[in-house]
Amino acid sequence: MARKLPSKNVVVIGLGWTGSILSYHLAKAGLDVVAIERGPWRDTATDFPPAYAQDELRYAIRLDLFLRPAQETLTFRNRADQTALPIRNFAGFLPGNGVGGAGIHWNGQTWRFLSTDFRLRSHLTERYGASMLPGDMTIQDWPVSYDELEPYYDRFEKLCGTSGKAGNLKGVKQDGGNPFEGWRSSEYPTPPLKQGLGATLFAEAARKLGHSPFPQPASNLSEAYTNPLGIRMGQCSYCGFCERFGCGNYSKASPQTCVLPALMRLPNFTAQTESEVLRINLDSTGKRATGVTYVDTSGEEWEQPADIVLLCAFALFNVQLMLISGIGKPYDPDSGQGVLGRNYAYQTTSSVSVILKDKVLNPFIATGAHGMMIDDYNGDNFDHSNLGFVGGGYMGAGQTNGRPIQTRPVPKGTPKWGAAWKKATAETYQHAYSLSTHGSSYSYRDCWLDLDPTYKDRLGRPLMRMTFDFHDNELKMSAYLTERLAEIAKAMNPTEMQAHPRKGPYDSTIYQTTHNTGGTVMGDDPQTSVLNRYCQSWDVHNLFIPGGASVFPQNHGYNPTNTVGALAFWTADAITQLYLKNPGPLV
């Protein structure tokens, strides 16, 4: 029997990006806030000191910062006619664990979605006709527009101090930036990062072929910066230990470097770490959340009553907690009815590797969001009329690292081990470069999340089951994008080149990205969404999922974090400006 704690105004489940942003704004608004986080407390000073933060074996191979499958995992299958099995080693994607969540171990790529992405189905239907879309594709318009979200993208970028070059300032095109991006109300908070030789050569080749390369927007800062919360960040040292690592130089944006120092000073905020929320509790009507029940490390259960519940866990676990708590109608792929778990999507990535024998590329001078990119083949920036697919992605030369264990490029035909392999890695390291595409993943009727009928977690709750595979539309898209990228790669005059378009089926044992989206989709219609346009549950008005990637109706050709952060600010405003004045359904 859970022991009941004194009631709070707000309980926040998970203290990552969205949890920390919401906690800060609601505590600043005077509310009494408690955040419950299943992982440990983590802080730059004590957990990522630069004296040992760059430990590839500990963090990148042994995955020190990540969720352990024994703690929580999910089952996976490609198709409904298969039996899903538990993921016993996270590999294809890596959910975070602990305070800061995925905001600690991300690379820092800080993209906005395109204006047309926000009205995807309407836009594609208008331009190409409904017959262009596969019958089982379940993409839908977002319930917010780019114009509405722009000020919130701006706020998240200013929180992070994002480095970049605007391509569109209030509708006026800017040289050197992304000409395809939506309008921006202001320039990036800090100027672009310096580029390495590989990215510079790519940009020259892309320009020669008529494309418009620009520096990738990066929350690994090009110069020191003080954010609106008064927190100071440092200049990136290009050490190349971003993804999978905490940043000890205070230069990669994270809840630790951007929010927590100010949040933890607020006397009306408490963080309860190493405590896992078991379920969201509802009152007898099922229309109102009364708080949460969580279990601490000693196994003791606690009930934390609250007026408002904010579900801020990683996308996949937002869906699981909603399913376990029985909030919203689970999705049934056979009938197409129900919403919870619907429209799970991912990301369709591919690469082209090149060897430039006569160039010394120093790949270790790198940062997570380094690089020069083109956006010519993203979203609907190019004519899809005769291509047989929709969607796209950005592509380019982004050197995230040159770490010694995992960066071992070799020419084609090199043995996989032994003296010849050693010789080849030594000879190739300084001359190899990987170009990549970051493609969209649209949603489909047969890609969804539900509770596994067989397997349970350590707390006796059903594991979540993922059913997902790449569809022809995405594989065609990836083939097309990879061909375009290979054309540019060829213009770099490589000694050797290999193109790796994405091939099916989806393999959860090979790392691709941790951009798991959908399952608690936001929308204008309760028949096809779990949340309304304010990320508020249609069924339980005092429950919000403020912008985790589980609210995306489908995934676009960009990294999700900037949109996640923007939606967190958007929801914070909705709660403080609308909901607190008149608690109830906002739509």
């Binding site: 000073a45 004590t46 100071r232 100010a262």
Partner: protein, 409 residues
């Protein structure tokens, strides 16, 4: 007129009361006392971390042994509730507490003696309003013979001159206010003034830097080499108000002084302190010639610096404002005594967090990664690069410090 009449009436009421508590309903006096308590940083020693306010408990490591700051809440049994006003004033001005008990100068009565009776009684008035806490503190934990309080009679006779602050009519009001705050309630010299063998202030070199509790509190005079003379008045104000400025961040024992005291001072008082400190220059500190770059220790230090330090402190030693201290031109880096430098490299350090500078960045510990000779080499390098100059640090000194720090953990 009305005001002075009111004051007279209040003073009268004060005198006629049997105990000090009688006059404590005067809001402005209590408020002034609260602020003077902040200026004097009473909480720094008398409030234990996580403990009840002013209930005592902070251990002070002196060269002679440990003293625990006592309970100064108005509890009559374990605090100072039974003290008379005269006893309270005597404790601060003369170093003699209830019934004439002699205090140890870890209680900075050598500074508080500069304070006016009126200011001290305002503090007293404020302290009578805090929650009484029944918490017995065994203050005197010194070994024999230092535990004999009567010994302080001799110490005081040798080292202590009671007396109020006397303004200098040739200086501005602001300078005089600063002088009063620094010499009196702020008791800056308690840490920053060099000490004699008897641990008394060396009066010929006030605020020129001193070693205590395993830290070197740097020179805070306007000396451009080892002091804060390169800082503007605004730099110094920003440091005291926020704990961080373009050159450095407060860490070590100064964290507590910034947290409890300087960050809560009125702007005018911080400005006065800056004016006074930037007006002190004893001179007489000669900057030596730097060690040659081809000195073996310098070469080793340069390589270690590039590998371990440069990502934050930069190749040019300039650091990053309000985040990573600037080593070039730093007083701590060039101090004769490298105690603080060695300690920060060995065990790391965390800067203070204040509401206007909440970041609190940290220096990581390198004791596990660099041996004593390597630490000495990198310190020698930063003490003799970018225009810095200071004597080399020896591996033996770092090895000794390593042992001392290990024992103090």
């Amino acid at each position: 007129m009305y005001r002075s009449l009111a004051l007279t009436v209040l003073s009268f009421a004060f005198i006629t009361c049997a105990h000090a508590q009688g006059a404590t309903q005067d809001f402005s006096r209590i408020e002034r006392g609260r602020y003077l308590t902040t200026l004097s940083d009473c909480a720094g020693c008398h409030t234990a971390p996580g403990g009840k306010p002013f209930a005592g408990g902070v251990a002070l490591q002196t060269p002679f042994g440990t003293l625990i700051a006592p309970n100064i809440t108005p509890d009559t049994e374990t605090g100072i509730g039974n003290w008379s006003d005269d006893e309270f004033v005597s404790a601060l001005q003369e170093g003699r507490g209830r019934n004439g008990t002699r205090l140890y100068p870890a209680m900075p009565y050598t500074a508080y003696t500069k304070m006016t009776r009126d200011d001290i009684l305002a503090i007293r008035a404020y302290l009578t309003t805090v929650t009484p806490v029944n918490h017995k503190v065994n203050a005197n934990q010194l070994p024999f013979p230092f535990n004999i309080r009567l010994a302080m009679m001799v110490w005081n006779w040798l080292n202590f001159t009671p007396g109020r602050f006397v303004p200098d009519p040739h200086q501005s009001d602001e300078w005089n206010r600063g002088a009063y705050l620094v010499q009196g309630p702020g008791h800056c010299g308690t840490c920053h003034t060099p000490k004699t063998i008897l641990n008394a202030d060396k009066n010929d070199a006030p605020l020129a830097g001193a070693t205590l509790q395993g830290w070197f509190a740097p020179n805070i005079t306007a000396n451009r080499y080892q002091g804060v003379g390169r800082w503007s008045k605004d730099d110094l104000i920003q440091y005291l108000k926020t704990g961080a400025n373009n050159a450095t961040l407060a860490s070590g024992p100064m964290v507590e002084a910034v947290t409890h005291s300087t960050s809560r001072m009125k702007d005018a008082d911080v400005a006065a302190i800056a004016t006074y400190l930037l007006g002190i220059d004893q001179g007489g500190i000669n900057k030596p010639a730097p060690l040659a770059a081809d000195n073996p220790s310098m070469k080793a230090g340069a390589a270690i610096y590039k590998d371990a330090c440069a990502p934050c402190h930069q190749d040019n030693g300039r650091g990053s404002a309000e985040l990573f201290p600037r080593l070039a031109g730093s007083a701590i880096v060039q101090s004769d005594d490298p105690t603080t430098l060695g300690r920060i490299v060995l065990e790391g350090s965390r800067a203070v967090a204040t509401s206007s500078a909440p970041t609190a960045p940290a220096m990581p510990a390198f004791d596990w990664r660099l041996d004593s000779d390597q630490v000495a080499a990198v310190l020698t390098y930063i003490r003799n690069s970018w225009g810095n100059a200071a004597p080399a640090v020896t591996g033996a000194a770092i090895a000794k410090q390593r042992t001392t720090l290990a024992h103090s953990r």
